[in-house]
């Protein structure tokens, strides 16, 4: 099973100290992600519930959304998941140089996404949709803002990994750390898959 990355990661994260053979850290991350489902679920439902509760003349989704633009940034985030997988599989193979490249690429793609979001927010704002404008505005910014904050935290973690790698503190034995942060990163991506469909693509 040395031929494939996942197996290696799995083998590395094999933890003989625990009663399940699963490392505490990875278990903790999955527990956290399970919990996050309810956090984002709550925000998404709030958005769904509120988006239509605006006056006929109020500024609404149709007035501001720029689907092509958001599609591109969604695509960017989606692809960052691919680079993240590569980062994980390269460190599992002990290829620190590649690992660094992929980490940086992932962080860069994430940053692109966040930049796109910042741009989107300012564009919406200049079109008259602020956080306080109406229920759609409040719910939209709260949901996407929360997501953006998650991405930002992910970027910071990726960059810390990068720095660790540069300073020589990252090794094959620590592949699991990269994997765990990868899990977080993919989760954030997955949340965006849902947000993108429900918030942007659903017929208004």
């Amino acid at each position: 099973m040395t031929d494939t990355a996942a197996a290696e990661v799995a083998a590395l994260s094999e933890d003989h100290r625990t009663s399940t053979g699963i490392s505490n850290e990875k278990l903790a991350m999955w527990l956290f992600l399970g919990s996050e489902c309810l956090l984002f679920g709550g925000l998404i439902s709030t958005y769904m519930f509120n988006k239509g509760r605006i006056g006929p003349d109020d500024i609404g989704p149709d007035d501001v959304f720029d689907i092509p633009f958001t599609s591109v940034s969604s695509f960017v985030l989606l692809m960052s998941s691919l680079t993240m997988v590569f980062a994980v599989s390269s460190i599992a193979k002990g290829d620190l140089r590649r690992n660094r490249i992929w980490l940086a690429a992932t962080a860069a793609l994430g940053a692109t996404f966040v930049a796109g979001q910042v741009y989107e927010f300012t564009a919406f704002y200049s079109e008259g949709l602020g956080f306080t404008t109406n229920l759609f505005g409040s719910s939209f910014y709260a949901l996407t803002g929360f997501h953006g904050a998650h991405v930002t935290i992910g970027i910071i973690m990726l960059m810390s990994l990068f720095v660790m790698s540069v300073r020589g503190n990252l090794s094959r034995e620590r592949a699991e750390t990269v994997e765990i942060i990868g899990l977080y990163w993919h989760f954030v991506d997955v949340v965006w898959i849902v947000i993108f469909t429900i918030v942007y693509l659903f017929p208004q």
Binding site: S19, F49, F131, A142
Partner: protein, 668 residues
């Protein structure tokens, strides 16, 4: 306690970040990562807040003792019952349960510590930060000027700035988020502990019922906390940054808050009760000299309660205008929660049946729970009948219900736990005579306080009213209830006196030798010295049965009678093995929590303060991650794991298979 040597500390180039070494005195508490000390601190803090919340309750009762009461004004009264509810729920029962979870979970599964000791310390300090913030709302900016005053469920839109312009609700929103972080982190930590840190052979179905109930509680927290976090965030955004989530003029529907709150709120009540159920399930078998009746059903009913608890929340909203179909669905789903709960009650009774019952103080409390909780549970079922709940909701009948389940259930159970595990934690028993006396005083006072509230409620007394008219006919029972409350206070004071006097006694006379197992009990925690040595167990225990410790003590003779197999002193560890490597203390959990506290005050008062808090917080995270990784939660350094157990031998080491379960059942 003796300092434990930490033989091998990796000193990094960044010398600032060395960890505090096995220190003495107060510093050893501030920086500790030992789950037992953290548990004790949780317990102490919860007791402190219990007195705070109890004194608040006494003011409620003083004000309501007579018609047209004028002890405190309406505004203050609103603040008092709100902070009373918030304190009791979030700062008393939850942390008291956390105290037992922290202290006992690792012991009961035979581990050296929790999965993430530093995170554990962080949970405690973060909880304390939230508690300090909430409690300080009573005096910041004047006595009761900025106290939350929207009730503990704080319905929108009354919680908006427009209707609640003081800072009170900000304290509520921020404070509960901070305690929420604490609960979430500790839930993850404790789940990982139970799933991952079990000793050899400790399969899930060999875990004590308490471990199970605490595990279920942690799962409830894991999934319920984010829901209230969402609600609190929306509230905070509305209040601090003018968003519209609960702004009716902008088209918002205030019922959104109610749904989010109670989606959290109902699982929350099971978060409050399940730990007590677990404690009762430990105490009753011990003092009945019988194993728990229907172990698997006890576990399964706990799981069922945890599940069903998610599908009933809107029984708090029967009058909110949801529509008859929703009302019907939630009404019926709520009723059936009585089934798994009833299974528990009946199993406890069956455990006592034909037992040799010894009514020690812990046993009194446990039986008190069985009896009192049933009363509260039955009134709960009458609330579930939606049409009649429209008569009951927001009256003292509800107040009676939830004090019976919370005080008569959760709190009595937790107090029983204090008496039961006190010798384990401190090496001496609390005085039994005082313990029994205080139990009876509490129990009688409790029934006199909350029993009459059933009548008051059905006679139409609304809750949250600062006073009532003389001609409404509420005077008599209110006076009885108020006297009862002071009787409870005497009972609580007797408990406190007992703690003080018992402690003083052993200080003077030297610590008595209670031995590892003063009650002749069943769980693994009794297999090590009292007080529990810092490293818990001298060597790893291999578990073969449910109630392993008991089975090591007792066997059967030829005639099938249960007889001593070996004296406890031979089985139990004496705590003499000091060579176990434990994680060193750490500065960062408390620093991180201080950062969070600053952020909290900053959000309420001044964003610059929040910025300072963020700086401290980031610094603490930085320090945390650069700290020499001589503990298990430093990723990747498995080498020096605290609870290090020898690599499990796959062939036999894996906790039991389903087959072994049956074996566990069929012993003796």
């Amino acid at each position: 306690m003796t300092a434990v040597q930490s033989p091998r500390i990796a000193h990094r180039p960044l010398g600032v970040f060395t960890r505090p070494q096995g220190s003495e005195g107060w510093r050893s508490w501030l920086f500790t990562v030992d789950h037992k000390r953290i548990g004790i601190m949780y317990g102490a803090a919860a007791l402190f807040f219990f007195i705070v919340g109890g004194v608040e309750a006494l003011f409620i009762r003083l004000q309501l003792a007579t018609p047209n009461g004028s002890v405190i004004g309406a505004g203050t009264y609103n603040g008092v019952f709100t902070i009373h509810g918030v304190t009791m729920v979030f700062l008393v029962v939850m942390p008291m349960a956390a105290a037992f979870a922290n202290y006992l979970l690792p012991l009961q599964v035979g581990a050296r510590d929790v999965a993430f000791p530093r995170l554990n310390a962080f949970s405690f300090w973060c909880f304390l930060a939230g508690g300090v913030l909430l409690t300080s709302s009573m005096f910041i900016g004047g006595w009761f000027q900025n106290v939350p005053d929207g009730g503990w469920f704080n319905y929108a839109p009354n919680s908006g700035v427009l209707f609640s312009p003081s800072k009170g609700i900000d304290f509520y929103a921020v404070g509960l988020q901070i305690t929420g972080i604490a609960s979430l982190v500790s839930a993850i930590n404790l789940i990982a502990t139970v799933l991952n840190m079990r000793t050899k052979g400790m399969s899930l179905f060999r875990m004590p019922v308490l471990t199970w109930m605490l595990l279920i509680t942690q799962f409830l927290l894991l999934f319920a906390i984010p829901v209230i976090t969402v609600a609190l965030f929306l509230l905070m955004f509305d209040r601090l940054w003018d968003s519209n989530f609960f702004n009716v003029a902008a088209g918002a529907d205030p019922l959104l808050w109610q749904h989010l709150f109670w989606i959290f709120g109902h699982p929350e009540v099971y978060i409050l009760i399940l730990p007590a159920f677990g404690i009762v399930s430990e105490i009753i078998p011990t003092f009945s000299r019988k194993p728990i009746f229907g172990y698997h059903f006890m576990v399964a009913s706990g799981i069922a309660i945890g599940f069903m608890g998610w599908g009933v929340w809107a029984h708090h909203m029967f009058t909110s205008g949801m529509g008859p179909l929703s009302v019907a669905a939630f009404s019926v789903s709520t009723m059936f929660i009585a089934v798994p709960t009833g299974v528990k009650i009946l199993n406890w009774l069956a455990t006592m049946y034909r037992g040799r019952l010894r009514f020690t103080t812990p046993m009194l409390y446990a039986v008190g729970v069985v009896s009192m909780f049933t009363i509260g549970g039955l009134s709960g079922v009458t609330h579930a009948i939606a049409p009649s709940d429209t008569q009951q909701t927001d009256t003292y009948y509800i107040v009676a219900h939830f004090h019976y389940v919370i005080f008569g259930g959760a709190l009595l159970g937790l107090f029983g736990g204090f008496y039961f595990w006190w010798p384990k934690a401190f090496g001496y028993k609390l005085n039994e005579a005082w313990g029994k006396a205080s139990f009876w005083v509490m129990l009688i006072g409790f029934n006199f306080t909350f029993g009459p509230m059933h009548i008051l409620g059905l006679q139409g007394m609304s809750r949250r009213i600062p006073t009532y008219r003389a001609d409404e006919g509420f005077a008599f029972w209110n006076m009885v209830a108020s006297i009862g409350a002071f009787v409870i206070a005497i009972g609580v004071a007797m408990f406190l006196w007992n703690v003080y006097a018992s402690t003083r006694k052993w200080r003077r006379a030297g610590r008595p030798d209670v031995g590892p197992d003063p009650w002749d009990a069943r769980g693994l925690e009794w297999m090590t010295a009292s007080p529990t040595p810092e490293h818990n167990f001298d060597s790893d225990i291999e578990v073969q049965k449910l109630d392993e410790f008991w089975h090591r003590k007792y066997g059967r003779d030829e005639t099938g009678r249960v007889v001593r197999a070996a004296p406890t002193s031979q089985i139990a560890h004496d705590g003499s093995n000091t060579s176990v490597h434990l994680p060193s203390p750490s500065y960062w959990p408390i620093v991180l929590s201080a950062g969070i506290l600053l952020v909290g005050y900053g959000l309420i008062f001044n964003l610059w303060l929040a910025a300072a808090g963020v700086a401290l917080l980031v610094g603490a995270i930085y320090g945390w991650s650069l700290e020499p990784p001589d503990d298990p939660d430093a990723a990747g350094h498995h080498g020096d794991h605290a609870g290090e157990l020898p690599a499990a031998d796959e062939a036999e080491g894996r906790a039991g298979s389903p087959l072994e379960l049956e074996e566990a059942q069929s012993v003796d």
